[in-house]
């Protein structure tokens, strides 16, 4: 795999400390537990509409969740439960939003595809492919203008690299040297279509990097430590005023594109091979090899399981939103009125 870093801020070659390793593992577990629960709640018809899970892709969000500064900005897609959660949004807020409850992050007004938690820097989930790349660039511009050394991180899929907004945002961010990290989660499919069938190059993001004067960065998206390192270097580059980065993280989703999709279009061997490369399984084995006590790992797992159970109960107990809130917050004065 191509992992040239030549134009990057020097990568920290210090080993990842034990606490950080457990933090990475915990974040992945949190996402896994939340997404599995979301899946169950669907089957129980407690989540309506649609939902796009990140099962199998946890390492990418988790690594950035740990690497980012508290005041950094995250922009993500409809497949954004993970990216929102790892910034510190509550499980109750996330599950509540999926279930359309008052306790939801947006009290049910946004829904699964639009999770947002501004207090945690989770600046929104965007459901029209490509739109949030320029928006993330704008937040980075604002950070640059205000001189805060904040960075913006923008997550999107392989399919997104073929839409116009991708191109505009990358060029714009490069020309203005904006502190933004673009993270392509290449899970090999745009919905039901293999990315190779609709893309002129092999690596949909990395093979486009040079079109914006950027280095190609391909990372194993199922290796949480590799992801953590590239997160650190690209964030450092952003804060140092060296401009944007474009990361292509190779990964795979365990379930279908969305609720409605049994994912029958994927070859069984392909699925099996990637299931063997489950990022959580891999990292658990690695941690044990590295001498981390199994008890420490189990404790995390138990704690996360308890957290998600608790959040589920809290969300179930929360009432549905008052109908009146459908008519609020169109405008900053809280109102919706368009006339006097």
């Amino acid at each position: 795999m191509n992992t040239k870093h030549s134009r990057m801020a020097s990568p920290p070659d210090v080993p990842i400390d034990p606490a950080t390793r457990l933090a990475l593992y915990r974040k992945m577990m949190e996402v896994r537990a939340l997404e599995k629960r979301a899946y169950d709640l669907f089957l129980q018809n407690l989540i309506k509409g649609t939902s796009h899970l990140a099962l199998g892709q946890e390492a990418i969000a988790a690594a950035f969740g740990v690497a980012m500064r508290e005041d950094d900005y995250t922009f993500c897609t409809y497949r954004g439960h993970a990216h929102t959660l790892v910034r510190g949004a509550s499980m109750t807020g996330v599950l509540g939003e999926l279930m359309g409850r008052e306790c939801g992050l947006m009290a049910g007004k946004g829904g699964s595809m639009h999770l947002t938690s501004v207090p945690h820097g989770a600046m929104g989930s965007y459901a029209i492919v490509g739109a949030h790349l320029p928006i993330a660039a704008g937040a980075a511009w604002s950070a640059q203008y205000r001189g805060t050394e904040q960075a913006a991180v923008c997550f999107f899929g392989d399919g997104t690299t073929n839409i116009g907004a991708f191109h505009e945002a990358l060029n714009f961010a490069a020309v203005w040297k904006l502190p933004v990290v673009f993270v392509c989660e290449n899970n090999l499919y745009m919905e039901y279509t293999p990315i190779g069938a609709v893309t002129a190059v092999e690596h949909p993001a990395a093979d486009r990097a040079s079109a914006y004067g950027l280095e190609p960065l391909i990372v194993d998206g199922n290796d949480v430590e590799a992801m953590f390192k590239v997160a650190q270097t690209t964030l450092a580059r952003a804060r140092a005023g060296q401009g944007p980065s474009l990361i292509e993280a190779k990964t795979y989703r365990h379930s279908g594109h969305s609720r409605a999709d049994p994912a029958k279009y994927r070859p069984a061997e392909e699925v099996a091979a990637w299931m063997r490369r489950d990022p959580i399984k891999l990292y658990r084995e690695k941690l044990l090899q590295q001498g981390v006590e199994e008890a420490a790992i189990s404790k995390i797992e138990a704690s996360v399981a308890a957290e998600v159970d608790q959040a589920t109960e809290a969300a179930k107990a929360s009432s549905v939103p008052e109908e009146s809130i459908a008519m609020t917050e169109v405008w900053a004065n809280g109102d919706w009125s368009w006339r006097n």
Partner: protein, 325 residues
């Protein structure tokens, strides 16, 4: 008459036209191998093969632009925009290029294409996947605009749209895909620009479109049964061309007009019809024109909130009674 779902009617209509005319081609995202995210195009790839039924990248400008270029040079493309909300990402190609090119070239170019798209609310998909955007298309001279409410109209109007030499925006309503209805056997072609009177009453004319049609009919039933108010219900079906003859005739007869629009209020198609009636039928009207619309807010995701804002049968009944009591 065969019983078809609205969903299956889409595939049936496209198949009918592709079988008839080899210049009809079909492109869009996930429409071929996957049969569409709404499963409305299942079977077309198998039947017509990958040169006529083609999956595209997520590149709405490219795919709609390609449809335009192909239409200008001898093909009759049908292009899918998966959700009507995504019309916004290729709006320049639609509104500035497709709509205007025949006129600008003084008729040198003909633009026989259809853009079909899943429109409307009711699926708890939130603000970016639920809009009713027929009025966006209606604002643009050079576009024809159709929105069927029944499986028969899906087939008949799609066939008419494909055969029409002008660009047609074809709005399918997501919440109707699962509904069933009779469709004429054999080749079935309807006509653009014809509204349909679905129910005759004397007190008020309710004009509705797409998913609001069944609600308007239910409201009319309830108004008759519970309140002794008899309503004519007109399904507009085609916003451009607009069948003002039928609509104005019914409004003149009943003396009252109510539009039922799923779109947020401002500049909805109902405003246009109201302005026509208020100009041309001023002396025939017995009471104010009423518009029942989604309030002018983005759409919420939670089910109870979504149900609250989209016009319901109850709300139609209530507002009609308030206006005319």
């Amino acid at each position: 008459m065969a019983e078809l779902t609205y969903r299956d009617a889409v595939a049936a209509a496209i198949a009918q036209e592709m079988a008839r005319d080899p210049s009809v081609v079909f492109l869009g995202e996930d429409i071929a191998a996957a049969g569409g995210v709404f499963k409305a195009t299942v079977g077309l790839l198998d039947r017509f093969g990958p040169t006529r039924v083609r999956d595209t990248p997520i590149s709405e400008q490219a795919l709609i632009g390609a449809a335009m270029g192909a239409a200008m040079t001898g093909l009759k493309p049908i292009a899918e925009i998966m959700f009507s909300d995504f019309l916004a990402v290729c709006w320049d190609i639609i509104a500035n290029q497709i709509a205007k090119t025949r006129y600008m070239t003084n008729g040198q170019v003909t633009m026989p294409l259809v853009i079909r798209t899943a429109n409307g609310a009711g699926s708890r998909f939130g603000a970016q996947h639920s809009q009713s955007l027929e009025n966006w298309a209606m604002t643009v001279p050079g576009l024809k605009v159709v929105a069927p409410a029944t499986p028969a109209d899906v087939v008949g109007l799609m066939a008419a749209a494909v055969r029409d030499p002008d660009p047609v925006l074809f709005f399918e309503h997501k919440s109707l895909y699962a509904t069933k209805g009779p469709v004429p056997e054999g080749e079935w072609v309807d006509q653009l620009g014809k509204a349909k009177v679905l129910r005759i009453g004397d007190d008020v004319t309710i004009v509705a479109l797409a998913a609001m049609v069944p609600k308007a009919l239910a409201a009319a039933d309830r108004l008759a049964e519970q309140h002794g108010v008899t309503a004519t219900v007109v399904d507009v079906r085609s916003l451009v061309p607009l069948d003002t003859q039928t609509i104005l005739r019914e409004v003149a007869r009943t003396g009252r007009l109510v539009t039922v629009e799923e779109n947020p209020r401002l500049c909805g198609w109902g405003a246009e019809i109201a302005s026509i009636a208020s100009q041309e039928l001023f002396y025939d009207l017995d009471g104010p024109i009423l518009r029942v619309t989604t309030p002018h807010v983005p759409l919420p995701a939670a089910d109870n909130l979504e149900d609250h804002v989209i016009p319901s049968v109850e709300r139609i009944v209530r507002e009609v009674l308030q206006a005319y009591d």
